[in-house]
Amino acid sequence: MPNNTVVIKDGKITDNLWKIVNEDHSDLTQDNIILPYCLWLANQDELSQRVSEGKIGLLLEGDHNLQEQNEGIADFELIAINFPGFMDGRGFSVARLLRERYGFTGELRASGGVIRDQLCYLQRCGFSSFDLDADINIEAAVESLNDFSEGYQISVDLPTPLFRRRA
């Protein structure tokens, strides 16, 4: 998990206020922690108040079954999706489902093994922030968000397909 000091958020480089914790993390009283789904599930009752206050984030994996596990998911301030490697494209679909089907409007963060060259696609799938691997030059990477100004398909950031917009 990167947990860098800076992230790209809404197109800008900004301080990272959040921290992903792992499954055996015990101190759940901290604010701005991103919990793996199972950790949140096990402590749901105790955490629900702070979730609604926007103090708790959720970490999902690419194999997360949203159809069966989506209750309360729209209430989080932040959801991070973990990319185990940049070739693993499941997170692109998970992101769209969160945005387009499960009503998530908070910060959607791509975390881990994505590379600069994917930022534009990730943004189109609904990601609003990026915690990239530490060796990536984040100042240069942020420019890739603008690699494309037009796309054929519907996407989270442009919900009308080109064929309905063509003059």
């Binding site: 494209g89 692109f92 998970v94 696609y121 494309f148 919900p159």
Partner: protein, 552 residues
């Protein structure tokens, strides 16, 4: 043919700028080789045994004379003066310089061509019937739908990092020249009883190391639902397809593992959310795309008179007659024919074409076929709109240029991958095998007598030469560092799709022509009147061929 508008140009221009930046970052050491790899693949660039290889998309096989001339120029300026037609209707350059590729892509973009997603774990170039729009028995022209799919698949933000590559083929005809049963998705454009247009949807076919015939997932999908349904299939695959083993990552494995009923249920459940959404096709968009594929300005011709004239010339010209009998296809318009330019004379790697020939094809297309040509999955070129009255001069010019070999659909019209001479994946060479067979069977009368035979050669189990669906399939294998060749019989890529059966243990390279001769003899000895090779095989089975091939 489709013509780009400013949006299409902008998207492709930005793609090239992106790839130029990626190439520069790679060459400067900033971008790691393993990260550059999928990025260059998604722009068509492989690094092969001897040099990089650039695969350029020919969307559903349609190419015009301006594009052909540009390709000719590119092969001269950036390569060694020739190109290769692939088994998925694309065009490959074998020797470009990696640093030149962004410039090549920019030259292609000027003539509305690109290499986006011609490789990589993404949605590849959509292929179709080389006789689309002209075939006599065709119900509906598939090309407008192919273009709709091309645009939908190009830079699709959700499906650029799939578990594995993804290939879609579309046909509008019962005679399947697009092999829709052996694609990740095969679409047959159909009309239902109410006369509405839609698609029969087949999923999970494919060749490669686990050949599978696709399964019917939906009998009739209304045309407006095409893209939402494709999104649903791709999303199910993207989320559930295996990523732990690249040999089990294609959608065919997922369909098999779930069972087609369960798979279809998941797709329908996903589609229930997407159907009737914004991505639903509008009639205006369908009509817009159809408007690019309207009929050219055909002349009104008396077919009988035109045919009689051709027959009269052919009666006195046996070479012309032979060419007509093999290299011509019927046409829905009276007085017209579709002509196949053969790219497989003996001694030339199947599908290879020189810069000069590309220019000549462009000239012939301008002169005889409304400026358009098509690439075929069996690695030839089609001029689809030729007046019968112009067949003789076309034949004469094609002959002078070296692509009037009258062997289309015969034993020597071999489908062949680049193989070990070029490809870094190959276990064995394939081009020399094709040549050895062409040399052995150089008696055209014998070849004609054998009739229709698809002979397909792949240099490895990735099956780019489609050996599983050749009537005779040859697969190069590696045994302890030596090249051997396994033979399969009975494959069929048509609407009667079948996968070939392995004859037995593999043979050495030099044995192959004799073994093929033996197989052909079994056919000739056993065939009934008018029976084609694959029909005889289907009737008598593998045993007699096997007996002959392994007789001591």
């Amino acid at each position: 043919m489709y013509q780009y508008d400013p949006y299409d140009h902008q998207i492709i221009t930005q793609r090239i700028a992106q790839f130029r930046g990626q190439t520069e970052r790679y060459l400067s050491g900033e971008l790691k080789a393993e990260e550059f790899l999928p990025l260059r693949l998604q722009n068509g660039l492989y690094v092969q045994r001897l040099a990089p290889m650039l695969r350029i998309n020919v969307p559903y096989g349609m190419i015009n004379s301006t594009q052909l001339r540009r390709l000719a120029r590119i092969t001269r300026d950036y390569d060694k003066g020739y190109a290769h037609i692939t088994t998925r209707q694309n065009i490959q350059l074998n020797w470009p310089d990696l640093a030149d590729v962004p410039d090549i892509l920019a030259e292609l973009a000027e003539v509305e061509m690109h290499a986006t997603q011609s490789s990589g774990n993404c949605i590849r170039n959509t292929t179709s019937d080389q006789l689309a729009g002209v075939a006599v028995e065709e119900e509906i022209d598939p090309r407008p739908y192919c273009e709709i799919i091309r645009q939908w698949s190009t830079l699709h933000p959700e499906f650029a990092f799939l578990p594995r590559k993804f290939k879609i083929a579309v046909t509008g005809s019962n005679s399947d020249r697009a092999a829709i049963n052996v694609h990740d998705i095969g679409l047959r454009v159909i009309k239902n009883e109410q006369g509405e247009i839609g698609f029969r949807v087949i999923v999970g076919g494919g060749l490669g190391r686990t050949p599978v015939i696709g399964s019917l997932v939906r009998e009739f999908l209304p045309e407006k639902d095409l893209l939402t349904y494709l999104d649903a299939i791709l999303r199910v695959y993207n989320l559930l397809g295996r990523r732990d083993n690249k040999y089990k990552a294609r959608i065919k494995i997922l369909v098999k593992a779930l069972g087609v009923e369960k798979f279809a249920e998941l797709v329908e459940a996903e589609w229930a959310h997407l159907a009737n959404g914004e991505a639903t096709l509008t009639q205006a968009e369908i009509d817009r795309c159809k408007n690019f594929f309207t009929e050219p300005a055909y002349a009104t011709i008396d077919d009988k008179a035109a045919q009689a004239e051709v027959d009269a010339i052919a009666a006195d010209n046996i070479a012309f007659e032979k060419w007509l009998s093999r290299n011509l296809c019927g046409h829905k318009i009276p007085g017209y024919a579709a002509v196949v330019l053969a790219l497989k004379p003996t001694g030339v790697a199947p599908g290879d074409v020189t810069d000069r020939q590309l220019d000549i094809i462009a000239d012939l297309a301008d002169k005889y076929s409304f400026g358009e040509a098509r690439t075929t999955h069996d690695q030839n070129i089609v001029l689809a709109e030729v007046k019968k009255s112009e067949l003789l001069p076309l034949w004469q010019e094609a002959k002078a240029a070296g692509f009037a070999t009258p062997n289309i659909g015969t034993l020597t019209d071999v489908i062949c991958c680049p193989g070990g001479d070029f490809c870094s994946l190959a276990n064995a060479k394939s081009i020399p095998i094709a040549e050895a067979i062409q040399r052995r069977f150089d008696d055209m009368d014998y070849v004609y007598d054998l009739g229709d035979i698809d002979l397909n050669i792949s240099g490895c189990m990735n099956a780019c030469g489609h050996h599983h669906v050749g009537h005779i399939g040859i697969l190069g294998v590696d045994k302890k560092g030596k090249e051997f060749y396994q033979i399969q019989l009975g494959g069929d890529s048509s609407e009667n799709t079948a996968l070939g059966k392995v004859l037995g243990p593999a043979f050495g390279e030099t044995e192959i022509p004799d073994i093929i001769a033996g197989i052909l003899n079994v056919f000739v000895e056993n065939r009934h009147d008018g029976e084609q090779f694959v029909e005889t095989y289907n009737r008598i089975g593998l045993a007699p061929y096997k007996e002959r091939a392994y007789a001591k």
